[in-house]
Every structure is written in structure tokens, then in C-alpha cells.
């Protein structure tokens, strides 16, 4: 991964998560929430931002404490830190909107086991300064949000004929219910991967 490369500019730290090392499309991390709550654009966005928030906060804390925490207990302490911020987020979302909390369900709690966060904590924040860690978290978090939104938008548009609950087709549109079903989640992500694969092959050729 690019983490090991020397002299990476700070914009690079930020940009890489958005596209080149996109956590979902390229690293295939954090699949569970990606698929589970991307049935509407709104859910996807909320989930993405919640994850990004937890990622940011835990990256900050992990980076701050990186010289303080002994190696043997580092994973345990990361999990502890992440779980804390997830709980905080959980309550925050509940306080914002009960409806949203209901539709995201247990998947907010499950951010804890999102491999993306743990892997950033372990692979990046624990080795880098707080500034870099913040940039990394922002990039990865936004990349994750972007990917989720890509999925959620497609699924909502086809599956419900709307985007952010606003109908975008004329009356009588036949929604493709499969898209908001679990199978649709798998298919949509697979299709995005196909597109990215195709783009990359074309790039490699030229």
C-alpha cells in the first residue's frame, strides 16, 4: 500500500482514499455495512458519514496514543477506542432522528467490526502523526461514503424510482424491487466492480 512510500504529500494522503485506494471498490473492506444499508441514498450517506466520523475520531485518538500504548495490547485498545466512538455515534444518531436510527438498525453498532476502521488504525494511525492521520481518515472516510453513496443511489433510483426519497421518474415507473433486496446489494456492488475493472483494463492498455 501507499502508506509505506516515502514523501507522500498531504493532498495525496487525502486523495488516495477517494479513488486509488478506495476502501470499498479497491480494498474491498467494510463490506457488511456497505451492502446492508446502501438500499437508499439517504441511509448510505448517513452510514458513510457515521463511519467516517468514527474513523476520524479513532484515528485521532490512536495517533495521539500511539507512543503510549504498548504493542501487545494495541489491538485491544483500538477496539476499545472504536467501540467507544461507535457508541457515541449511536446515541448521536438516535438524538438526531429516531427514524434514521431505526432504518440503519444494528448496523451502526456493527461499525465496530468494520475492518476498514481497524485496518486504518493499525496500518496508518498507529504509525503516523496526528495531522496525517486526520487526512487519511478524512480521505478514507469520504471515499467510503462516496462508495456507499454510489451504491445507495443506484439501488434507490432503480429500486424505488427516487433519490433521497424524491421521485425522479414520472408517475407509473416500475421499480426494480430486487435492487433494494439483499441480492440487489450484491449485484450492484459487483456491477460497480465490473465497471472499475473495465476502466482499469482500458487504462492499462492505453
Amino acid at each position: 500500500m501507499s502508506d509505506d512510500k516515502q514523501k507522500v504529500t498531504s493532498t495525496d494522503e487525502f486523495i488516495k482514499g477517494l479513488w486509488r485506494d478506495n476502501p470499498v471498490f479497491v480494498q474491498v473492506l467494510g463490506m457488511c455495512p456497505t451492502l446492508a444499508v446502501s438500499n437508499t441514498a439517504e441511509n448510505a450517506l448517513a452510514m458513510g458519514l457515521a463511519t467516517a466520523f468514527v474513523l476520524l475520531m479513532s484515528n485521532i485518538l490512536v495517533s495521539l496514543l500511539r507512543n503510549f500504548v504498548p504493542k501487545q495490547v494495541r489491538i485491544a485498545s483500538y477496539i476499545l477506542i472504536i467501540a467507544t466512538f461507535v457508541t457515541v455515534t449511536d446515541y448521536a444518531i438516535q438524538a438526531i432522528s429516531v427514524e434514521l436510527h431505526k432504518s440503519l438498525g444494528a448496523f451502526i453498532s456493527l461499525i465496530v467490526v468494520n475492518c476498514l476502521i481497524l485496518s486504518r488504525a493499525e496500518a496508518f494511525a498507529s504509525k503516523n502523526t496526528i495531522g496525517k492521520s486526520i487526512l487519511d481518515a478524512l480521505g478514507m472516510g469520504l471515499g467510503f461514503t462516496l462508495a456507499l453513496f454510489c451504491l445507495g443511489a443506484v439501488r434507490e433510483i432503480l429500486g424505488n424510482g427516487s433519490i433521497f426519497n424524491m421521485p425522479i421518474f414520472s408517475e407509473g415507473f416500475q421499480s426494480w424491487i430486487v435492487m433494494i433486496l439483499p441480492a440487489g446489494g450484491f449485484f450492484t456492488l459487483a456491477l460497480w466492480l465490473l465497471i472499475i475493472n473495465a476502466l482499469q483494463t482500458r487504462k492499462a492498455k492505453s
Binding site: F169, G172, Q174, W176, I177, M179, G184, F187
Partner: protein
């Protein structure tokens, strides 16, 4: 003087002279009577739906071959079979645009991504139908009544629904024998079922014609008789046991055999060679799974029909069957592979 150069080839030098192409072609022949009956009972609607699904499949196959810069494989008839089978499993008044999408999905998702003919894990037609079922559950469960008097002169308005629009169904549907039984406890006589006097998917209604097609293929040794035998036998036995336990609650085994898509599935879909196991014992197990799952889903599940899901699940299990059930190789002890 004898010429100097000879062609060389590796043994054997003689061949049975049968081709995959020919087998596929014969499956199409065997399907044609089913198509004819479907058109006869459901009229122009069925004809349009089946033709659209077939056209879409063949077109997709051709386009995908072109895109991947290969020679087109539409000549091997497998896309035709996929399209026909898909069309036959759709309700006769199904909107054409949905049937068209089904054809695309069947070939693209059911076959192409796996590497084309020979590598598809699932029966492509059923993959397409499963996606359609999940995508358009209302349209795909709205059944058109059979033998309407104007079936050759008029076309249901739902058939020509504009693409991406929700269809409006003009006739309140005729229930299939299975849904009639499941939700209203009404049974249909076996004779009516066998001769297709009921409503249902375009090609599933007339059991007799399907069986005849199957017998033709089996007689020409182009289909493995064990699969339909195992499917029908296991379904019959399980539903027979249930019937003997409580004949009020459970329908007769004959009803189970002849209703819904079981016959069409057992004869034409479960027998898809690519997605079924290869050893005789494996085939019996595979067929048994389909038969039993079908009855389980019909009796205890939320759906009135389970053939499609049973076959797809059995397709998913079939690689395992093949890796566990192997022929005992000559001169060796049977290997029990504990996977």
C-alpha cells in the same frame, strides 16, 4: 504414385458423430410442442412473450461475444434454449420489456460472467427468472386465464407496457392451481392439469406435452432420464407421505406432480447438463433434493411454488455432489471424501 504427405491425428480416429450442437437443437425441437401448446392456450400474448425472451437472449449472446471479441456462439443453440425456457416460465401477459430484460439477465448474469456455455453454475433461464421474480413480483405473479375466446385476436394491454413503466393488468388474474390450493384450499383435477386446462406460466400448464418432449429426448439419449425420474419420484413420495398423514391438509401427490412448474422444471430445467452433477448416484441425489425442496417450499414455505428455487439451490449444491460422489474407479476402493 502415392502422395507424400498424410494428415496425422491422434487416436481415436473414429467418432460417434454426435455434436453438442445437435443435442441442443433437439432440445429445441422437444420444446417446440410446449411452445405451440402455450400459444394455443394463451394466444398471441404467450407467443409475444416467448419470442421476446428468446430474441433478447440470442441478441445478448451475440453482443457479448462481439464485445469480448470472440466468434459468436449463437449457433450452438444454447441461447435459444435459455430464451425459450425463460419465456415458458413467464406469465403469458408479462410485459415484453420485462421479458426482454430477463433475456439479457439470463445470458449476461446467468452465463457470460461465469465464462459462457459449459461453465454456468446455475441454469441461466432460472437465474433470469429469479431476478425477474425479485424485481417485479407483482407482474410475475399475475396470471392470465387460459383459453380466452379472443386470445388470437387481442393482446393483453400489459404486454405492451412502455419500458420501465408499471404494467396495468386488465383481467383480474386467474389463480394458478397451486396458489388456488395454497391460499384457498381449492384443488384442481389431475386431468385438467395434465392437459393444460389451467392458468399458469406460459409453458408449464400441459404436463402431457412436456412429458412427451422428455421421452423424445430420453429416447434419443440426449437427456439423462435419472434427473426427471428422481425429481418426480422424490416429490411424489414426499407428498404421498404427507397426503397419507393428512389428506385434508395436504394435496394428493398427483396434484403435486402435475401442478405448477414441476414437470417443466424436472424435464427441461433440472436436466441442464452443465449445472447438474455427472455421476449416476449424484444425479439421483440432485434430483431428490429438487423434488423434496419443491414440496417443502410448496407445503411449508411462504410461496405457492418452489420449483425454480429448488433447482437453483440444487445447482448450487451440484459442485459439492460431484466432489463427494465420484464413481469408484476401476481397481480402487471407493474413496469417501470427507469434505
Amino acid at each position: 504414385m502415392l502422395k507424400k504427405t498424410l494428415d496425422i491425428s491422434s487416436s481415436p480416429h473414429i467418432y460417434k458423430g454426435r455434436s453438442t450442437n445437435e443435442i441442443m437443437k433437439n432440445v429445441v425441437w422437444a420444446l417446440l410442442p410446449v411452445v405451440f401448446f402455450s400459444v394455443y392456450s394463451f394466444g398471441l400474448n404467450a407467443l409475444l412473450v416467448i419470442a421476446t425472451a428468446t430474441f433478447a437472449s440470442v441478441l445478448t449472446e451475440h453482443v457479448l461475444c462481439r464485445l469480448s471479441k470472440k466468434e459468436t456462439t449463437i449457433g450452438d443453440y444454447s441461447a435459444v434454449i435459455t430464451g425459450l425456457l425463460l419465456g415458458l416460465t413467464l406469465p403469458p401477459s408479462f410485459p415484453l420489456w420485462m421479458a426482454f430484460i430477463g433475456g439479457i439477465i439470463g445470458i449476461a448474469l446467468g452465463k457470460y460472467i461465469f465464462g459462457g456455455l459449459g461453465y454456468n453454475v446455475f441454469n441461466p433461464a432460472l437465474v433470469a427468472r429469479a431476478v425477474l421474480q425479485a424485481a417485479f413480483p407483482v407482474a410475475i405473479t399475475t396470471w392470465h386465464p387460459a383459453f380466452l375466446t379472443d386470445r388470437f385476436s387481442s393482446i393483453a394491454s400489459s404486454v405492451f407496457t412502455l419500458p420501465f413503466m408499471e404494467p396495468k393488468f386488465d383481467v383480474i388474474s386467474g389463480a394458478t392451481p397451486l396458489s388456488a390450493f395454497k391460499f384457498d384450499g381449492v384443488t384442481t383435477s389431475t386431468a385438467e392439469l395434465a392437459f393444460g386446462q389451467v392458468s399458469g406460466s406460459a409453458g408449464e400448464t400441459c404436463a402431457v406435452i412436456i412429458i412427451l418432449g422428455g421421452i423424445y429426448l430420453i429416447a434419443r439419449n440426449m437427456m439423462n432420464w435419472r434427473i426427471p425420474a428422481a425429481v418426480l419420484l422424490s416429490a411424489f413420495v414426499l407428498s404421498g407421505i404427507l397426503y397419507s398423514i393428512n389428506s385434508e391438509l395436504y394435496p394428493s401427490p398427483w396434484f403435486m406432480l402435475f401442478s405448477g412448474g414441476l414437470m417443466l422444471g424436472a424435464v427441461f430445467m433440472a436436466t441442464d447438463m452443465v449445472s447438474s452433477p455427472i455421476t449416476p448416484i449424484g444425479l439421483w441425489i440432485y434430483g431428490g433434493i429438487i423434488g423434496i425442496l419443491t414440496i417443502v417450499i410448496r407445503v411449508w414455505g411462504g410461496l405457492s411454488e418452489g420449483v425454480m428455487y429448488s433447482i437453483l439451490l440444487a445447482n448450487a449444491i451440484s459442485p459439492h455432489i460431484d466432489s463427494i460422489i465420484k464413481n469408484r474407479v476401476y481397481g480402487t476402493k471407493r474413496k469417501i471424501k470427507t469434505a
